[in-house]
Amino acid sequence: MTKDIIAFWGYPHPNLINKTKLEYPNATWVDLDICFNYPSSKFTPDAYCGIIKNIFDNAFYLKNRIIKILAAVGKDKCDSGFFAANLLKNEGFEVEISFFEDTVPLNQLNDVPICKSSLPLKEKLSLITANIVEQKDYSHLERSNARFGFWGVPPNDLNICDLFPPQTHVFGWSRCVEAKNPANFELEMYVETDLPTVFFAQTFCSKTALAKYLADKYNGLYIDVDAIPTNSAYAKIEAFLRLR
């Protein structure tokens, strides 16, 4: 089988993305963070971050097609990203590691038109992650008046986003990605104080500590979800959006 895929996770450094685009102009880019419902690789313990499980499941399923993996391993991703890069290298994948830890002061950052737009939340998060590779300009998007906030990484199961109205602004790591500053902790911790916000993290991810801390501090709703949201998670978000 011909190898035709450049795989990546997190937000590889733009210089690495651009260099790889020039090197493989016809390659298909696949974000391994995303759940494509490929068979389980059973590579990790059951109790493990759903996003990192996706990386292994996707990588092993697509192994014969993957040219190389651009692996985010710095503070812009997590320790599990570092471990995954090395384990996949041991399993015969060509892995190029990436640190994207450059940070810019908040007042000098790029604007985040997708996060502030009136697009449905699912579309916002999908555009933000797609734009890691596409690098399109979304400055034309109309800004919405925020009614709610969503803080966190794009969930493994994006269907949970359907509960939120389009006037939901995006914060946390997803906002950092749109601002091209995935390791900017100050931006990751930024929220609008009076905006009712759902603080989301994947179960077994260390960002659960940030989500819980911020939810307590700003009277928001803390939610952690593993692979598929439970009825409790759906119901809590629904009630929070209705009552706040």
Partner: protein, 220 residues
């Protein structure tokens, strides 16, 4: 001619129905959910685990609890609904929503378990009395194991079940983040052993079994 309006809280085991007549009389009734399913009634609003969550008439259970409890209570309160298979609570501070939680995943240590234990050991709920000791029921399965072990050693089943209920009350107190006062909604309002157990930890105000249907009737 005006007709009565009906609201239903269709729980896992019991369905609570509120009828508001054209003369604005309120009639409350309770049926086993298996029986209530057969009724040919057009409801204005519905809530509860067995109601159709995709229906336009469905109201989220925490929202129904919040609306119903607000009608009964002052500006600051915590209302806890302990049902057959789930536990949920809501906190209002200065008349505004402040906090909540809902665990619908673990049904091990809630109303249905108690009903099963009472039937299994042939004990009447009114025979249960507050017991100073409690079983740890963070996991209901381990709690059940404790009951069976102790009964096999000669402990009276009603004492063992009371210790289990005390464990549930203690869990409820911790789940609601250890408040000074809890307002209770649901079938446990009628369980004196549970109320007495919870009173060991905080002030308790039972609101009855119809808080959620009252909330439905209030909600526009």
């Amino acid at each position: 001619m005006n007709k009565s309006k009906f609201y239903i809280d269709a729980g896992t085991t019991w369905s609570k129905i509120l009828e508001i007549t054209p003369l604005n009389e309120r009639k409350y009734s309770i049926y086993p959910t298996s029986e209530a399913r057969k009724f040919d009634i057009k409801y204005e609003k519905m809530t509860g685990h067995t109601s159709d969550k995709n229906s336009a008439l469905y109201v989220n259970e925490v929202v129904a609890l919040a609306m119903g409890a607000k009608a009964h209570l002052e500006n600051n309160f915590i209302a806890l609904d302990l049902g057959s298979r789930d536990i949920k609570w809501i906190k209002y501070k200065n008349s505004k929503f402040s906090d909540m939680d809902w665990n619908s995943s673990c049904a091990a240590a809630t109303g249905a378990t108690i009903e099963m234990l009472l039937k299994f050991y042939d004990v009447k709920v009114e025979d249960l009395e507050f017991c100073e000791e409690k079983y740890p029921v963070t996991c209901g399965i381990f709690g059940l194991e404790k009951i069976m072990d102790d009964v096999s050693k000669g402990l009276a089943p009603k004492i063992a079940i009371s210790k289990f209920i005390h464990g549930i009350a203690y869990n409820a107190y911790n789940f609601t983040k250890n408040p000074e006062k809890i307002c209770i909604s649901g079938g446990f309002c009628e369980n004196k052993c549970f109320i007495d157990s919870l009173q060991k930890y905080c002030e308790v105000l039972p609101l009855g079994r119809f808080v959620l249907v009252d909330g439905l009737a209030l909600r526009p």
